[in-house]
């Protein structure tokens, strides 16, 4: 390992710019003559638009134009789409209702945009927006997924009966039924996976600039995947052909999934910029974000586990209703299906699994991928079932897990996934040591002396990351391939630019990717810069989500670096008058085998460009290579999180007393960054388990519409984490990387709830386990003292 190479805890390059306030976020970008967009949004969850009167608004000071959904439709701006096809059990395709960027006929959730004011300033735009008169006929609303399909539920979209988008299933239903019939014991659970609001630090923003001379558009956008945004906006929404639309996602302050999707606001800014012939900018306010950023989770599930007489799991079945909100967001259909049911085997050897998922429309904000996306929901089902089953059988939850762990690889689960490497015993063992499980009893007695009940909870999770290969995801319905691209440009002076199709919005790619290049080419870490987020610079890429940038994006860089090395060897051969086959490359030096003749990487770079040592017929000048890399399989990060809680019996308040996370992420490029990702993930998982939860009232108003009511986790809600690693390399990419971005959020909720239910001695507690909820549970089931 070099000082800044693979495995070194290098400080993040990008932090200087961020910490000193020199980041360039979308809202920091300004264009001459820029105008501001202010959206007129529905105050109703469900209503017919009878009439929109913009006359008074148009006369307000500073107003350039007021545009409505009717005009958007007249201009033939296409609808937003969901890019992953799911088929129902009966073979019928999912029912995707139209999603116009501005509603023209009906509004389907509070915050649905019906018009936009383009004004000189935001304040003037807001004044004018208040003067837009919308005549609504209010319709009944439904917000609860469990009630969306009922007879009495209002129909939201005309062509979607029962508000049911699809009724999908996976697994062998008959075999599962047989296994349940033969079971010695069955564990049953009803689970609600609470709805979450992502709340990235930087709110969404868009700035659209129309160049009339070239009839082209540029969009600066808070995107996790600018190329996908460009593709969808050109191919489906039809705003401009792909080559006439440039999308730039500059510095982006967090996404957690919510910035993957193509949203109405960016479409409207582009459309409006062309109409008013001036740049149009929109920056979301936090309250607008609550009403428009795609939410996460929101599953209602009944799950069962079948066990034989030896405490071996024989089958699992689950029936889930997934709330997709008022419209199908970009990847929403895949989250409760292929990102969820395929992970229901967890770390366990489960012979048979069957899962049914109904996806429903409700009058709520669209729901889509949020950190973990489907896998936290799956892990929660599996890890709660396993913990409860162990308790019901009177077995130690860790012994029960060990008994059922998958122990040999590769392992084909009954739900598509073929796990290729792992050692689940190793992470459990290491985590138990770090958590000092041996002395838990002592700590529990000590807590009891202070009027507190203590509990311990495990979560031995697995996830699937680096979603690929493209053929496989295509066969599951994905509208795109999930490979990644990289272009390595070596400059004549030997410094290197790497263009990547991934996008960093907190992950530290500028550092980790440079570590890889520095080690591989033997050049200083400082001589490498990473370029991303601009469709004019990077040819194509799929962006960053699903913990894919290391496993897929860095693998593409490795492949491009292989090509760089091959070409550089040719150049070095000409320089040293030796055959390229006799050239060895090590530590930044090209050496003729068996001699002391050598040239440095910088010299080779220079010679590649001055091209004095070879003719054009012998070799093309220059040193630049591209690779499109498609992995051979998903990767399977896994590990064990152990949470210890202490509950105040008087108030019901849960304190997290200790947290241990032992993860197997395969190869780790930068342990400091990886640890940071784990911390952040756990914080979000603890947030889901203890604090967060979007609440709608029966009329579809979002009760938790601001940070005064929606509880985000804060530093004081969290302990110092004890983080450890085990390592089995992923065999499906050249670096052996598995991915680490979502693990914490996937593992944590089950660990917390398993700990709380252990402390209380009842399973009757839902997320978020607020102090009030825990106190109420204790009133019903008084906990036994230690």
């Amino acid at each position: 390992m070099t000082a800044n190479g693979i495995g070194a805890p290098v400080r993040r390059k990008e932090d200087f710019r961020f910490i000193t306030g020199q980041g360039q976020y979308t809202d920091d970008v300004t264009r001459p003559g820029e105008t501001r967009a202010v959206f007129v949004r529905s105050p109703h969850a469900h209503a017919r638009i009878k009439k929109i009167d913009v006359a008074a608004a148009k006369k307000m000071p500073g107003v350039i134009d007021v545009l409505t959904g009717a005009q958007l439709a007249a201009d033939k701006v296409g609808n937003l789409i969901c890019g992953w096809m799911i088929h129902s059990k009966d073979g019928s395709p999912m029912k995707m209702a139209p999603h116009p960027a501005l509603a023209a006929a009906t509004v389907n959730h509070v915050g649905d945009a019906v018009a936009v004011v383009i004004a000189e300033t935001t304040a003037q735009g807001k004044d004018a927006a208040e003067k837009v008169v919308v005549d609504y006929e209010v319709l009944p609303a439904v917000v609860d997924p469990a009630k969306a399909q009922g007879k009495g539920a209002p129909q939201i979209h005309p062509d979607v009966p029962d508000n049911t988008i699809y009724q999908w299933h996976l697994g062998d239903q008959k075999a599962v039924e047989a296994a349940f019939k033969a079971a010695k014991h069955v564990t049953k659970l009803d689970i609600i996976n609470n709805r979450l609001v992502p709340n990235a630090m930087e709110p969404r923003a868009a700035l659209a600039d129309y160049d009339a001379g070239n009839d082209s558009l540029t969009l600066w956008n808070t995107s996790q995947n600018p190329h996908v945004a460009r593709l969808v906006i050109s191919a489906f929404v039809g705003i401009a052909p792909e080559h006439k639309l440039r999308v730039i996602a500059p510095d982006v302050g967090g996404g957690f999934g919510s910035k993957i999707f193509i949203y109405p606001e960016e479409v409207v800014c582009l459309w409006a910029a062309r109409k008013v012939k001036r740049p149009v900018k929109w920056t979301s306010e936090r309250s607008e974000a609550f009403l428009t950023d795609a939410h996460g989770r929101d599953h209602v599930t009944h799950a069962e586990l079948a066990l034989d007489a030896n405490g071996k799991i024989t089958a699992l079945r689950a029936k889930t209703i997934a709330n997709l909100g008022a419209y199908m967001s970009t990847f929403s259909s895949s989250v409760p299906t292929y990102l969820y049911a395929t992970l229901l085997s967890g770390q366990y050897d489960i012979p048979q699994i069957y899962c049914e998922v109904d996806a429903v429309y409700t009058n709520t904000v669209p729901v889509d991928a949020y950190r973990g996306a489907g896998r936290p929901e799956a892990t929660f089902v599996v890890e709660r079932l396993v913990e409860v089953a162990a308790r019901q059988l009177g077995l130690d939850p860790t012994d029960f897990r060990k008994r059922n762990f998958i122990k040999s690889f590769p392992h084909q689960t009954p739900v598509i996934m073929a796990y290729d490497a792992g050692d689940y015993n190793a992470s459990l063992k290491k985590a138990m040591e770090l958590a000092d499980v041996k002395n838990f009893g002592k700590r529990k007695r000590e807590s009891a002396r202070h009027g507190k009940v203590r509990g311990i909870g495990y979560s031995t999770y697995i996830e699937a990351c680096g979603i690929a290969p493209s053929q496989a995801v295509g066969s599951l319905g994905a509208g795109v391939g999930l490979w990644e691209s990289a272009e390595v440009r070596v400059n004549p002076t030997g410094s290197v630019e790497v263009l990547t199709g991934t996008h960093a919005h907190g992950q530290g790619h500028e550092t980790t990717f440079a570590q890889l290049v520095s080690e591989r080419l033997g050049i200083p870490f400082e001589s490498v810069s990473i370029v991303h987020g601009d469709t004019d610079k990077v040819q194509f890429g799929m962006g960053t989500y699903g913990s894919r940038s290391g496993a897929v994006g860095m693998s593409a860089i490795v492949k491009a670096l292989d090509k760089i090395e091959a070409k550089a060897k040719k150049v070095a051969g000409f320089m040293m008058e030796a055959s390229e086959n006799d050239i060895e490359f090590k530590d930044g030096k090209f050496t003729v085998k068996g001699t002391d003749k050598s040239v440095g990487f910088g010299d080779v770079a220079l010679n590649a460009y001055i091209a004095h040592k070879f003719t054009g017929a012998e070799l093309e000048p220059g040193l630049k290579e591209t690779s499109f890399y498609d992995p051979t399989n998903f990767t399977f990060p896994a590990g064990c999180h152990i949470c210890e809680v202490e509950i105040d019996q008087e108030t019901g308040k849960t304190e997290i007393a200790n947290w241990v996370a032992v993860d197997d992420f395969g190869t780790v490029i930068n342990p400091m960054i990886v640890e940071g990702q784990v911390h952040g993930g756990i914080a979000q998982g603890v947030g889901q388990a203890l604090l967060e939860g979007a609440v709608y009232d029966a009329n579809g108003q979002l009760v938790t519409g601001s940070l005064m009511d929606y509880t985000m986790p804060r530093a004081h809600d969290l302990p110092s984490f004890h983080v450890g690693l085990t390592e089995t390399k992923s065999p499906s990419n050249p670096l052996g990387i598995k991915g680490c971005g979502e693990a914490g959020a996937i593992a944590a909720p089950a660990a917390v709830i398993n700990a709380i239910t252990d402390a209380l001695g009842t399973e009757d507690i839902a997320m978020p386990a607020t102090a009030n909820a825990v106190w109420t549970a204790m009133q019903k089931h008084p906990p036994k003292a230690a």
Binding site: T651, T704, L707, D709, T711, T770, N772
Partner: protein
């Protein structure tokens, strides 16, 4: 935010005059309750009369057997006051639990009391100590001042100039924070000054801050947490929202009162 005119008087008289001339105007203290609602366009004052330059409205002073705090004294300055920490530590602990450093460096005691948010901390301290609210027109006992959620005995154009707190021998505040906002989900202030025993509760009541007479009665015999054991507060009249049921709030009143009493008698 809608447009407004901005005024910056230097005396209480000028401020009162400006308010009289701007009936739709509002006083601006720390702005940490007023400005958020203006930004959300939920309030539309025609004028703001900024009190920040008005003389004689800041500081914590010992006056005989009372501590007098200027209405424009920031939460952070009250928390830091050495005098207060010495003579009335129970009160000194209140502002430290408010919001975050930004809020504490701007928000004022006068603004907090005038606003009378049902979850605010200072109202419990005022009622729990039997403070006197001194305005440009009169002196109002805390018992008469807080008249319900976001409502007070202040008349139009009346300005709080200072607040006088009698020094109680025993006093303490216990707060259970609202998980999202950090305001008091329930907060209980207890005090004993000779025969005057007070238990004031914020956050819980659907009518704002209130006194718990049953606790006060029981504490007359002995000012100790033991004295209120077994006495429950009824859930009726308690606030109900997504963060806490009335039953839970009623329960917390008892728990926090005991904890405050333990602290006050330690």
């Amino acid at each position: 935010m809608y447009n407004f005119t901005f005024h910056r008087p230097t005396t209480v008289r000028q401020a009162a005059g400006l308010l009289a001339r701007n009936p739709e105007g509002k006083l601006l203290a720390g702005g940490h309750s007023l400005l958020p609602v203006m930004k959300q366009r939920l309030a539309q004052p025609s004028a703001l009369v900024d009190l920040s330059q008005v003389e004689g409205m800041t500081g914590v002073e010992l006056k005989g057997r009372s501590v007098v705090i200027g209405a424009m004294t920031r939460h952070a300055d009250v928390a830091k006051s050495d005098v207060l920490k010495e003579v009335l530590p129970g009160l000194a602990s209140v502002p430290g639990s408010i919001g975050d450093p930004q809020v504490r460096n701007r928000g004022t005691i006068g603004g907090s009391i005038a606003n009378n948010d049902p979850n605010a901390d200072y109202p419990a301290a005022c009622l729990g100590l039997g403070a006197t609210i001194i305005t440009n027109k009169r002196r109002i006992a805390a018992d008469d001042f807080f008249t319900g959620m976001f409502s007070t005995a202040l008349e139009d154009g009346e300005i709080i100039v200072k607040v006088s707190f009698p020094i109680a021998k025993k006093a303490a505040y216990e707060k259970f924070k609202h998980p999202a906002s950090g305001f008091a989900l329930v907060g209980v202030f207890v005090s004993k000054r000779g025969p005057d025993i007070r238990v004031a509760v914020t956050g819980a009541g659907s009518n704002g801050v209130f006194r718990v007479k049953s606790f006060e009665e029981a504490l007359k015999k002995r000012f100790s947490p033991k004295s209120i054991e077994g006495i429950t507060v009824p859930a009726s009249g308690m606030n109900s929202d997504i963060h806490a049921t009335p039953e839970y709030r009623a329960h917390l009143v008892g728990v926090l009162a005991k904890r405050a009493l333990t602290k006050a008698t330690a």
